[in-house]
Symmetry: none
Amino acid sequence: MNEPTGGSRRRRRPKQQRSRATVDAIVEAARRSLGRYGALRTTAEQIARIAGVSIGTFYQYFPDKISVYSDLLDHLSGRLHRQLESVSAPATTAEGALSAIVSAYLGALRDNVAAAQQLLGQRHLLEPPERLQARHKQLHTWLVGLFDQHLPNDAPQNDLPAFVLLKAVHGVAHGATLEKPETLADGSLEHELLALVRGYLAERKKQ
Amino acid sequence: MNEPTGGSRRRRRPKQQRSRATVDAIVEAARRSLGRYGALRTTAEQIARIAGVSIGTFYQYFPDKISVYSDLLDHLSGRLHRQLESVSAPATTAEGALSAIVSAYLGALRDNVAAAQQLLGQRHLLEPPERLQARHKQLHTWLVGLFDQHLPNDAPQNDLPAFVLLKAVHGVAHGATLEKPETLADGSLEHELLALVRGYLAERKKQ
Amino acid sequence: MNEPTGGSRRRRRPKQQRSRATVDAIVEAARRSLGRYGALRTTAEQIARIAGVSIGTFYQYFPDKISVYSDLLDHLSGRLHRQLESVSAPATTAEGALSAIVSAYLGALRDNVAAAQQLLGQRHLLEPPERLQARHKQLHTWLVGLFDQHLPNDAPQNDLPAFVLLKAVHGVAHGATLEKPETLADGSLEHELLALVRGYLAERKKQ
Amino acid sequence: MNEPTGGSRRRRRPKQQRSRATVDAIVEAARRSLGRYGALRTTAEQIARIAGVSIGTFYQYFPDKISVYSDLLDHLSGRLHRQLESVSAPATTAEGALSAIVSAYLGALRDNVAAAQQLLGQRHLLEPPERLQARHKQLHTWLVGLFDQHLPNDAPQNDLPAFVLLKAVHGVAHGATLEKPETLADGSLEHELLALVRGYLAERKKQ
DNA sequence: TATGAATGAGTATTCATTCAT
DNA sequence: GATGAATGAATACTCATTCAT
């Protein structure tokens, strides 16, 4: 769950159970602080305090504040990715595949949007998060393939459609988490998103 | 264009022509700096330097750094809103109305998304931007009305659909501005967005 | 009333009625601001605003902020001095002379203690206010003379007694202005002060 | 000696021996700087430098510059109060009691008047120093009691006389510390002050 | 190892003063 | 002359990071 990443420069490699727990606590504290107070108000002290450790311990495990963000970003995207992976496998129809992926996406999102948005806002500071990039690309490629396979285009130009679909789902999911979280829980959002996806697919087939 | 807003707490009311221009320059500089360097890297000095004024002048017109962000947010949303207003008027078909609004939205967005995203990331610091909220609500209401009028529902429950459509367009537009800005210029994005909107509308009509 | 002083470095010499009024207004504004807000909160802008002039005008008449304080100090001490002068002349008994001077002193003090204290607090910044020094010395000398004349000492050492009397009256008067201003008005303070002075004098005569 | 006070808003509660010493050093440095350079010339940096700590350490223990003044004021008045308390106990004659208290007062004052005056000048900024007020009131009450007991008045109105005596001693002591510090050391000031007090007492007895 | 005291570069902010209009 | 916009050195204050205990 917290394997050392390329993006983060962890100072020491935790081997004992104790240390692993500390690292997790710090990353989790960063997530909460970012979500609650925003990036400008999130200080290293703040994170350490929420995590229940001293500032000294904080720097025993992370070389600097940014690297906690890197870890967090990786942590969040990893969670999402694992959910999506379980879908990628066998998909008879495009609708079925998209339906499954929308469902998985919403499931993975739940309580992490606030922190995720803050992280996105810090992208000026975060080193190019390779692994995250890779995952996005993977998902995108998968979507393009799906479109290529199911849309009757001669010269398929499905790069942009896949992008649009991704961002649309993204945007709706983020917005809902912030402004209509109840629709995430009662399934109504998922219902609408499927309509959005189905409609777009149908529209693309016409062309 | 820069009339004093509810959200901003201007320190001095500019009386001469000169100072009006100064205030505009500072807000514009804040927009650029936020877009280029991000919120954490944007200092008051930085903004003042880009605006070509001294730090003293900066604080002559703004009580603190945050208040420039308030002004900027209001400025940007005002610009967008004006574009959208010109559409709201006569709309024969739902498709026509939506097409016009998508087009207007993309037009207004062009070079402000970067700054806008940074601002959204600071929402913890910005006072509840009433005017912005009001504008969002207005647009949402307009969309609900459009759906109520054109969809054959007996008991119309179009609050969520309107929300979904708004956020989907929002998400796609933001994503594209950041990652595929060329599609904003060559019209291909608009084409896809219209397909998305049309498809969703068709799908909703079936229910 | 506002003749140019040694201590203050006035920038231009006011000749018209208009300018004289402006200078007075600024000095008076300084007095009020010092009394109300204290030295740390009294800015040049503040003084100018209270005086009802622009900051530009302020610096048209005074080379810097300190020089207003100099003028004010001189103004206040001048008022006190003029009161005392009218007494210095013929004094049959020591009691009579002291009684008159106490009375004059209290009369001059009334509403200026607050500002005066602030000024005293700025003595690190004010250049040695020669004229003020001179006045103090004059008063002190006069007191010493009074003691020499009326006390039956062979080798009169009345420097310290004069000092003590001066400071005692000073301290009581200041304290009363701040904490018991009503006793200044109803004469009860003067009554007590006279007792203090008389008692000290009697005590000194014994030695 | 430096227990947390009502007036001060300490930022961090010192836990180790080290930090306790640091706080003391900062308060002591503030005392020196106020006395030497005055309030306007005393900066946070200045205080930190004199204390031999970094500016960061300063703000680790005090939320802002003013709060050091609060602590200092409390510190000084506490010192004075402790001196006076040791006297209050057994007093055969009024003269004896007053003599003892004058002596104690002068002893406590020695090197703190300069700083104390600066602090008094800042009373606009300092929160109402309750504890200081309480101490003044206590001393005043004690004096009134002393007068009530020793003066042959039928309807004793000793509030003002006590006030006068307090302020007179105060004024003389302050003035001497600033202008004739040698008289504090050689005992001549104490001698004169006792004459002042004795004389006033005698004068009051006549009425 | 954990702690928290200490550091100081970096930012925010003020305010005396100048100068174009 | 009067005005107030502009200036920038000086000061207040923050927070990532180090290090003694």
